[in-house]
């Protein structure tokens, strides 16, 4: 209010000066009165127009803004996904996860200062929002997916989705070669060690020791052989990942054949096979499906309780899938290992796996075979009870099943 009065002073001063001037110039009193009245009226008009708006509108708009922002802030604060609330380019609010990811300083900043990355900034310039993947937003190797959505006429919500784990996976592929050579080096150095010992002093060891050494050499050489074979089938699978297999196979008969391989000479076997009720035709690659079964049954025998049987069964589900289940009764696998089991060289129990002659590639191969056959692989396990692997393959023309 005081501003209004103060604002009128220069006007009043000018008015009095003008009046004095007019009186001095001996203008008629009527004209002077008219000028004074018009002047005062215009001053009143100007005062009425300019002064009232600030006290009336500004605080109330701020009020509503403050409430809206506070409410939005409270709503997004506890969410796990980093979220930013922006008005044009200005970041009004960031929830706790966003402040952790980007730093607490982003609130109140221009997004170009806070996010900085050209791809992220260009996302802000898009008129209808959108989504983009940004590398290096929070550090040299970070990978985020930014999605910008309109909240209302003024506000935008920016969602940051952490893609770092996916970046990890692609990095895992790069690490593959390093891992593979490491896996090959271990048996190789043991072979070289034993052979060198024997070659240096051939007569120093008795026949038993020599036989034991040679046994180790043979075992390690076999390990390398199976590793190389696995690596080759993996790279073969990688190469033909995108061409669908063409062979027509009776899946039940094929499984029966593979199961019979696991029968010892004396007819004793731990594998209990339940064949499907009718022939199930599957489009696939004979060699690969055999390898899939062999790897899974081999795993079940190795990691299941050696006294308990392994159940292999194939059924036809209602949705025209051949469902292969391979169940063992053993120690089982804890839940935190399950998502990683199909990764190359991943071992839930490294010592045990190596002792059993595992290459760390069996399930990775299985996964690739299942993917190539447009199937699904599912591993369920209860610690202390056992593991069940389920493979679903689409059943094709049953009548034409040939093999």
């Amino acid at each position: 209010m005081s501003g209004r009065i103060r604002g009128a002073w220069p006007g009043l001063l000018l008015l009095s000066l003008t009046m004095i001037g007019l009186i001095a110039a001996q203008v008629s009193l009527l004209a002077i009165t008219a000028v004074t009245l018009i002047w005062l009226f215009s001053l009143w008009l100007a005062g009425r127009d300019s002064a009232p708006p600030p006290p009336l509108t500004t605080p109330s708009r701020l009020d509503i803004d403050a409430i809206t922002r506070a409410a939005m802030r409270a709503a997004i604060e506890p969410l796990d996904v980093p979220l930013l609330l922006a008005h044009d380019h200005r970041i009004l609010a960031a929830n706790a996860s966003a402040r952790t990811a980007l730093g607490p300083h982003v609130v109140g900043q221009d997004a170009r200062v806070a996010l900085r990355h050209p791809d992220a900034v260009s996302l802000l310039d898009l008129a209808d929002g959108g989504s983009t993947t940004v590398r290096g937003l929070t550090g040299a190797r970070s990978l985020w997916q930014l999605t910008r959505r309109r909240v209302d006429a003024n506000y935008w919500m920016i969602e940051l989705r952490d893609r770092n784990s996916e970046a990890d996976i692609s990095r895992a592929h790069t690490d593959f070669v390093a891992n593979a050579s490491h896996e090959l080096r271990t048996p190789l150095s043991s072979i070289i060690g034993y052979v060198e010992t024997l070659a240096d002093a051939p007569r120093q060891f008795d026949a038993d020791t020599t036989a034991r050494f040679l046994g180790t050499v043979l075992r390690e050489a076999r390990r390398m052989q199976s590793l190389v074979a696995d690596l080759m089938s993996l790279s073969q699978l990688e190469a033909e990942k995108h061409d669908a297999p063409t062979g027509r196979i009776d899946f039940g008969a094929l499984a029966g054949r593979v199961v019979s391989e696991f029968t010892h000479g004396d007819g004793v076997t731990r594998v209990e096979f339940t064949p499907p009720e009718r022939a199930l035709g599957v489009t696939g690659d004979v060699g690969q499906l055999e390898q899939l079964l062999r790897n899974l049954i081999d795993n079940a025998l190795k990691y299941g309780d050696s006294e308990k049987p392994v159940q292999v069964g194939i059924v036809n589900d209602l949705r025209d899938h051949a469902v292969l289940t391979i169940a063992d009764h053993g120690a089982g696998i804890s839940a935190d290992h399950l998502p990683h089991l199909t990764r190359r060289f991943y071992r839930a129990d490294p010592g045990r796996s190596r002792a059993a002659g595992g290459t760390g590639l069996g399930l990775a191969i299985v996964k690739h075979i299942v993917e190539r056959h447009r199937g699904k692989l599912d591993i369920a396990s209860t610690v202390g009870k056992g593991t069940t692997v389920t493979v679903r393959l689409p059943v094709t023309n049953i009548a034409q099943a040939l093999v």
């Binding site: 300083h105 900043q109 221009d110 200062v113 900085r116 990355h117 050209p118 290096g136 040299a140």
Partner: protein, 232 residues
């Protein structure tokens, strides 16, 4: 600015100035990482992209120049505003240099021969990562107006320098042993030199961030090694 100005347009100018610095910084960061990728993989397309994007950095520098002159002329900034504008002017110049160094690295991408077996090439990305991180963090310090972080970044420059020294020695001995690779190794010497300069400029930016935030010169401090972690 934390405190708002009576003239709202001044706030807008400062926000715009900081926005331009941020944009420039983002481009410079990307230029470093992409030029390094181009160098390691030999990707011509990526090198060309870095070189093309440098034009935008140059244009931004000019825009910042004009804007700061306008702010000086029209707003006559005082105290922290004055420091903010001066810092922006200087930082934009340094970011432009960083962009140039990255461009220079990208230009050398196709002059490395026998990339697969050229061992010293594996040393460079680690150095680039440290230098790139310095640039990333100094821009975060600028955004956050964090003088403590600025000090920490200045201290990191020694790491880049040490890296440069070791790469230099490594490359020289590599050249003596394998005279055939001298051309490629000499290129890498320049690349390492550029990265070292990028680290220096990141330090300079950190000094400007510190100056803008505290009105004190970081470079003038008597003993840099014993700087307190919190600004006095």
């Amino acid at each position: 600015m934390v405190a708002e100005h009576t003239v709202k347009a001044f706030d807008e100018d400062i926000t715009r100035l900081r926005g331009l610095i941020g944009e420039m910084g983002g481009l410079a960061e990307l230029a470093i990482s992409e030029s390094m990728e181009a160098l390691v993989t030999g990707s011509q397309a990526q090198a060309a992209a870095v070189i093309a994007r440098d034009k935008r950095i140059d244009a931004l520098e000019q825009e910042i120049d004009k804007l700061t002159v306008r702010i000086f002329a029209l707003r006559a900034p005082m105290a922290d505003d004055l420091r903010e504008v001066i810092a922006a002017l200087k930082i934009s110049g340094m970011l432009e240099r960083i962009g140039d160094y990255a461009k220079n690295i990208a230009k050398r991408a196709d002059s490395i021969i026998g990339r697969e077996t050229f061992e010293p090439l594996t040393l460079i990305p680690a150095m680039a990562e440290i230098a790139g991180e310095m640039v990333h963090d100094v821009l975060t310090a600028y955004a956050a107006r964090d003088p403590a972080m600025a000090i920490e970044i200045c201290e990191r420059d020694a790491k880049v320098d040490a890296f440069y020294e070791s790469i230099f020695r490594n490359l020289v001995s590599h050249m003596m042993e394998n005279p055939k690779t001298i051309t490629s190794a000499a290129q890498l010497l320049f690349v390492a030199r550029n990265l070292e300069r990028i680290g220096d400029h990141a330090t300079n930016i950190a000094e400007m961030v510190y100056f803008a935030a505290t009105a004190d010169y970081l470079g003038n401090r008597a003993d840099r090694a014993a700087v307190p972690s919190s600004p006095s």
